[in-house]
């Protein structure tokens, strides 16, 4: 056949594709550029300026103040630094508790629901996933009711003899409460005397407050379903050959899970952890709807603080600075977690062990 003709046809087709390509992606480029890229650049400028909230941030009256906003947040010694430190502390504990718990719980649910002998699997999957489709506003309203001082949760705890706290109004730190049970009321001088970001180290170790704990439970409740689905999909994609080989080699159920199944879930685990981290560091909707940072500023998060600083206190430069610092924190955490979970090449010594004992059965 006439290959040259084909080529010219194809190149003319391809040439027309350039225009179409740009045209097709144009709406996306314009919208994302205008409402994602430009805002970020604008906020970057505002965080380095002294714009006071009226008129355009690019007007002549607005001047460049260098890192003044950032300095006030990271070392100014005043209320701004203290609030930022408090917000960071609250959110750090939130992340520390939410991400592992929701990952483990969703994996647990996925393993249970994925059992081949199970009937009504769809029903269980639906039940566990349903909270994830509801709006965070609706769930927060529900949670405020369930966890009120005379609410359902406290009634349930009363059945087993525990006097439940006034959840959303209790600013005491959980760790401090636990230590208080053992009689430790205040920290050693080394911890109470020194501070970081305006908060003493003893306060950093206060743990999440009781109010924050209610939010942690809510986060686990609403996100475990989504991640459960991710794990189920991954589990169903695993080939049974490796598991069968392990069974034949005499591995127990536990060993099969930890040494065989889990390592194969590494990509999904990575996805779940990344999404979990990114989500947990941006808690905003629940705080806005529920406690607005209270009680005692123990549910203040950097995202909400950024909003409050800008929209309520009219300190727009500082608000933008908080947002960017948070961005850096999220990126750092994601990179760290990626490094932690990276597949490291198998060492030569180990390779020799495997090569000597050829595997049986596992063919693809």
């Amino acid at each position: 056949m006439s290959t040259p003709v084909r080529t010219s046809r194809r190149s003319s087709i391809r040439g027309g594709e350039t225009a179409s390509g740009w045209l097709f992606t144009a709406p996306m480029i314009v919208l994302l550029g205008l409402f994602l890229v430009v805002p970020v650049l604008m906020a970057l400028w505002v965080s380095f300026s002294d714009w006071n909230g009226r008129g355009s941030p690019f007007a002549g009256t607005v001047s460049f103040v260098g890192g003044a906003n950032y300095a006030a947040l990271l070392g100014g010694g005043g209320l701004a630094e203290q609030d930022f430190g408090t917000a960071l502390r609250n959110n750090a504990w939130y992340v520390l508790l939410v991400v592992p718990i929701q990952t483990m719980l969703s994996l647990f649910l996925a393993v249970l629901v994925n059992r081949q002998i199970l009937r009504g699997r769809g029903l269980f999957r639906t039940a566990f996933y349903f909270p994830s489709v509801t709006s965070s506003v609706a769930i927060t309203v529900l949670w405020l009711f369930l966890f009120s001082s005379s609410g359902a949760v406290n009634k349930l705890l009363a059945f087993i003899g525990i006097n439940g706290p006034n959840w959303f109004n209790d600013p005491s730190g959980v760790l401090h409460n636990i230590l208080g049970v053992f009689g430790i009321e205040s920290g050693p001088a080394a911890l109470t005397g020194n501070s970081f970001l305006g908060i003493s180290f003893w306060e950093w170790l206060a743990g999440p407050s009781v109010a924050m704990s209610a939010f942690i439970l809510m986060a686990v409740f609403t996100t475990s379903g989504t991640f459960m689905l991710l794990f189920i999909a991954a589990l169903q994609n695993l080939s049974g050959d490796v598991v069968e080989a392990a069974v034949m080699d005499g591995a127990s159920g536990w060993q099969r899970f930890w040494q065989v199944t889990l390592p194969q879930l590494r990509p999904t685990l990575f996805t779940v952890l990344t999404l979990g981290l990114i989500g947990a560091w941006q808690v905003f909707d629940q705080i806005y709807t529920g406690t607005q940072g209270g009680p005692g500023k123990t549910t203040l998060t950097p995202a909400y603080l950024s909003y409050q600083t800008a929209f309520t206190n009219q300190a727009w430069g500082q608000g933008a600075a908080i947002a960017f610092i948070l961005f850096v924190i999220i990126v750092c955490f994601t990179l760290f977690q990626r490094w932690l979970l990276a597949e490291h090449a198998v060492s030569a010594r180990r390779m020799r062990l495997y090569v000597q004992a050829p595997t049986s059965g596992g063919t693809k």
């Binding site: 046809r9 594709e17 225009a19 390509g21 097709f24 709406p27 996306m28 919208l31 994302l32 994602l36 430009v38 805002p39 970020v40 604008m42 906020a43 505002v46 941030p57 629901v113 081949q116 029903l123 269980f124 639906t126 039940a127 349903f130 909270p131 489709v133 509801t134 709006s135 506003v137 609706a138 309203v141 529900l142 405020l144 009711f145 369930l146 009120s148 359902a152 009634k155 689905l229 991710l230 999909a233 991954a234 169903q236 994609n237 049974g240 990509p267 996805t271 990114i278 560091w281 941006q282 905003f284 806005y288 709807t289 607005q292 995202a303 608000g319 933008a320 947002a323 961005f327 994601t334």
Partner: protein
């Protein structure tokens, strides 16, 4: 002209292979193990579903009943006072209308724009395609919180603050949706399109008449995710509008929770609002749940 593409048959999952093992009568230990499994699952399922049952039940209680019997699933006296107050004495219908308007437009917009861009990135070869794709990935990694203040600034500068335009236009496309469509288009064979091209159809015609109908599963995914995303969106509406006529359900229920329309303990009212707010998303969920369960494959491959 369009030929239907048959999906490739899936390899039998481990479950079907091992199922054959379970046909034999089970020893008691296995029965005990299975009962334990069911018990654990049932308890967990109850924990997950109970809050919503309590929510619906409480919305039909009186204020004092809700305060004194928070856990009971049957109201002492059935009262629709909360719903009456919600529909007759508040702006709830306006909130519902606004949420519906925004959701419909955003969903339609996203289906169209995301599939356009996804197709272009997957199938069309043009200079700068890789750059755009790299930028897309970069954009996906920007956390939403950073955009709260700046989106307000941009909306303000563009002069569209406090309008439906500000509520809808910024949401009309999202990076994750483009990503999903691109992945999907890459997974379907190109032979049909090539055929149509050689026969002389223009690019848009190929896209609209041939490729899009094949993309139904992915489109349904986008519809579900867009519906859910825009119906449940809060922070964007906070920064985009201020007038009460443009309040959506999320903003409205949030203001209910913080005590504007109701006292601190008028729980039936607040829970009724939250329940009605959840109904449309729940309906979408139940209709399309099989689709939701199957789309997570794509996410894992990222």
């Amino acid at each position: 002209m369009s030929t239907t593409i048959r999906p490739t048959p899936r390899t039998p999952s481990p479950s079907t292979r091992l199922k054959s093992l379970s046909r034999e009568p089970l020893p008691t230990r296995a029965i005990a193990g299975r009962s334990l499994l069911y018990a654990v699952l049932i308890v967990l399922a109850i924990i997950y579903v109970a809050p919503f049952l309590i929510q619906v039940a409480t919305s039909f209680k009186t204020d004092s009943d809700a305060a004194s019997n928070p856990m009971s699933l049957i109201p002492a006296t059935w009262s629709s006072a909360a719903y009456e107050r919600l529909f007759l004495n508040s702006d709830f219908p306006v909130w519902f209308k606004n949420s519906a308007i925004v959701t419909v437009f955003v969903t339609l917009g996203r289906v169209f724009f995301n599939s356009l861009a996804g197709y272009a990135l997957a199938r069309l070869h043009f200079r700068g395609r890789n750059v755009i794709f790299a930028l897309l990935i970069a954009v996906m990694s920007v956390p939403g919180v950073v955009l709260l203040i700046p989106k307000f600034l941009v909306i303000n500068q563009l002069g569209i603050y406090d309008t439906y335009v500000a509520m809808i236009v910024p949401l009309l496309t999202d990076a994750a949706g483009v990503f999903i469509m691109k992945n999907f288009f890459e997974s379907i064979p190109a032979s049909v399109e090539e055929q149509a091209r050689i026969d002389g159809a223009g690019t848009f015609r190929v896209f609209w008449s041939i490729v899009l109908p094949m993309a139904r599963p992915a489109l349904v995914t986008i519809i579900i995710l867009s519906f859910q995303g825009s119906w449940n969106e809060l922070s964007h509406f906070i920064v985009a509008t201020q007038s009460p006529e443009l309040t959506t359900l999320t903003k409205g229920v949030a203001s209910l929770a913080s005590g504007q329309l109701s006292q601190g303990t008028q729980y039936p009212l607040k829970l009724a609002a939250a329940a009605i707010m959840t109904i449309p998303v729940a309906i979408m969920f139940f209709i399309f749940q099989k689709r939701i369960m199957n789309t997570t494959d794509g996410a894992v491959k990222e």
